[in-house]
Amino acid sequence: MSGFLRSFGLANMVTSKSQGLAKLVVPLAGFLEEINGYRKLGLRYDDLIAEESPVVQKAINRLPPKEYYDRVFRIRRAHQLSLMHQLLPKEEYLKPEDDIRYLTPYILEAEAEAKEREYFDSATVVIKK
């Protein structure tokens, strides 16, 4: 379950090391996020992350109370809109600059912890001669 760490490592590598590739990929990512349509339901990208895993559960529990409340509000509002086959009024669409990755840092932290535990659980002791 080191998927988040790996994909974020890859994204960091692309944006920091390979300028040419970043110029191609970043606008494409923005375009895909836009046509995905979740912003029209008032959701943020991090609201879409599947929460049925121990790591994400841990991350969600570590959110500050306000962030946690807001997340639940956005998801419930999106459910309601989906049931009514409606979108938010155009002026209430989530703006790209408000699409903050509020959960990702917590997921990465929880995943790094799990990885470290796995490392120590399978570590072998080498005695110096």
């Binding site: 529990n61 570590r62 500050p64 912890e113 470290e116 535990r117 120590f120 570590a123 002791v125």
Partner: protein, 427 residues
């Protein structure tokens, strides 16, 4: 007969022993980069290293915050995670024991002599670079705080000691040692408290089985980025008399207390004279309280920086028996206040007071006591001065100490408070 005579002569020999044979506490001290160091070189395979920080509950900016900071010890730091600290110390063979008193938070590591550099680094990580993450308060630290305060409330003698501190000192030393459920502790308040107290000016590093030459360069290596800070002033701790009563289902206990200035050897002798703590298992001993209450009341003197608390704790199961034990203890105290004790009793009490004063300066508690002394007086405890001060106590001084307690006393009662006595009913 012969055996008896031999025992008597060896007793006399011990009683005649003079101060010259008593060694000092054995600590060598110095100051490196604003950090006070003291070490005792003992030739054992195990070394003990304590970071004594002037951050005990009496310095708390908000109630309970010192307890939370103590329980945050050995959690995640910026350089090492809690898991890494645990597993690496298991690989090397060691034990960590953070502890909290009213005077200090103490971070202690015991380890094999060769691993000094590693454990110094871990302790300085915990001291200078703790993470104090908000989620740790919810997941780990908060549970530990609840555990500690519940365990303390479940023991009537601990609960009554806490209540007695409140009655005697109100604030400062009167603040509860453990975080209470009513305290609002957040990661921010703990972090703010850490910024004030976890600084080089408030730190004393005390070790046993470590040489000062080896310790000094480590301070420059690992504590360079620790904030220098300012010396936290010692809050004044005046003595108030009065009653504090805590209804509880844990059991019944009554405590009488009197706070005195820290160098009051006559109170140490008074506590030893009243006694109550057996020195041998399965007996009450022959002290005044032991004979009067059959071991149900115990007198002691707890030293703090700037003040000492003389206390008698009576606890005997039911509220009726506890009240009777407290009344018996009070009448013993009044009889000591009414006439000077015999010279034999005084000699015995002085010898016991000497032991009680010096034995906490040994071993692991000794590191804490030495650190607190370094932080508050600037010097390691002077064993010879402590012992000679106790030697100079006279029967008349003990009598006036007892008179002082009788005239002004703080009383705490825990349990079925409706049945337990008040201060003016006891004395």
């Amino acid at each position: 007969m012969l055996a008896h005579r031999r025992a008597t002569s060896s007793f006399l020999h011990t009683a005649r022993r003079t101060l010259a044979t008593v060694a000092d506490s054995g600590f060598a001290s110095s100051t490196v980069e604003g950090v006070k160091l003291a070490t005792k070189e003992v030739d054992t395979p195990i070394s003990t290293l304590s970071f004594v920080v002037k951050a005990g509950s009496r310095y708390s900016t908000t109630p309970g915050v010192a307890h939370a900071l103590e329980r945050y010890a050995f959690q995640n730091t910026k350089t090492r995670s809690a898991l890494r600290i645990t597993r690496e110390s298991e690989f090397l063979g060691a034990s960590f024991s953070p502890s909290l008193s009213r005077d200090a938070i103490v971070l202690t590591a015991e380890f094999l002599k060769d691993d000094l550099a590693y454990f110094f680094e871990v302790l300085s990580d915990v001291f200078a670079r703790p993470h104090l993450a908000r989620h740790e308060l919810a997941e780990v630290v908060g549970t530990l705080l609840k555990l500690d305060s519940t365990a303390a409330a479940a023991d009537p003698s601990v609960a009554v000691t806490e209540a007695l501190h409140l009655a005697a000192y109100r604030r400062g030393l009167g603040l509860p040692l453990y975080a209470q459920p009513s305290d609002s502790i957040s990661a921010t308040s703990v972090s703010d408290y850490k910024d004030i107290v976890y600084t080089k000016a408030n730190l004393a590093i005390v070790g046993s089985g470590i040489s000062l030459d080896k310790l000094s360069p480590l301070v420059a290596d690992f504590l360079e980025d620790a904030p220098a800070g300012t010396d936290v002033p010692l809050p004044s701790s005046p003595f108030y008399a009065g009653d504090v009563r805590v209804p509880s289902t844990a059991g019944n206990a009554v405590a009488l207390g009197y706070a005195t200035s820290s160098s009051a050897p006559e109170f140490a002798v008074l506590a030893a004279l009243l006694g109550g703590t057996p020195s041998i298992k399965w007996s009450y001993g022959s002290s005044l309280l032991a004979t009067a209450t059959q071991g149900k009341a115990v007198a002691s003197l707890t030293p703090y920086a700037g003040s000492s608390l003389f206390k008698i704790i009576a606890s005997a199961g039911s509220a009726e028996d506890t009240s009777a034990a407290a009344a018996a203890a009070a009448s013993v105290l009044k009889s000591v206040a009414s006439k000077p004790v015999s010279s034999d009793d005084l000699k015995k009490a002085i010898a016991q007071a000497k032991f009680a004063a010096v034995s906490p300066l040994e071993g692991k508690p000794g590191l804490t006591a030495t650190g607190v002394s370094l932080l508050t007086t600037g010097a390691v405890p002077d064993t010879a001065a402590i012992l000679s001060a106790l030697d100079s106590v006279t029967a008349e001084k003990v009598k006036s100490a007892a008179e002082a307690v009788v005239s002004k006393v703080a009383v705490a009662a825990v349990g079925k408070v409706a049945e337990l006595p008040y201060a003016d009913e006891l004395l």
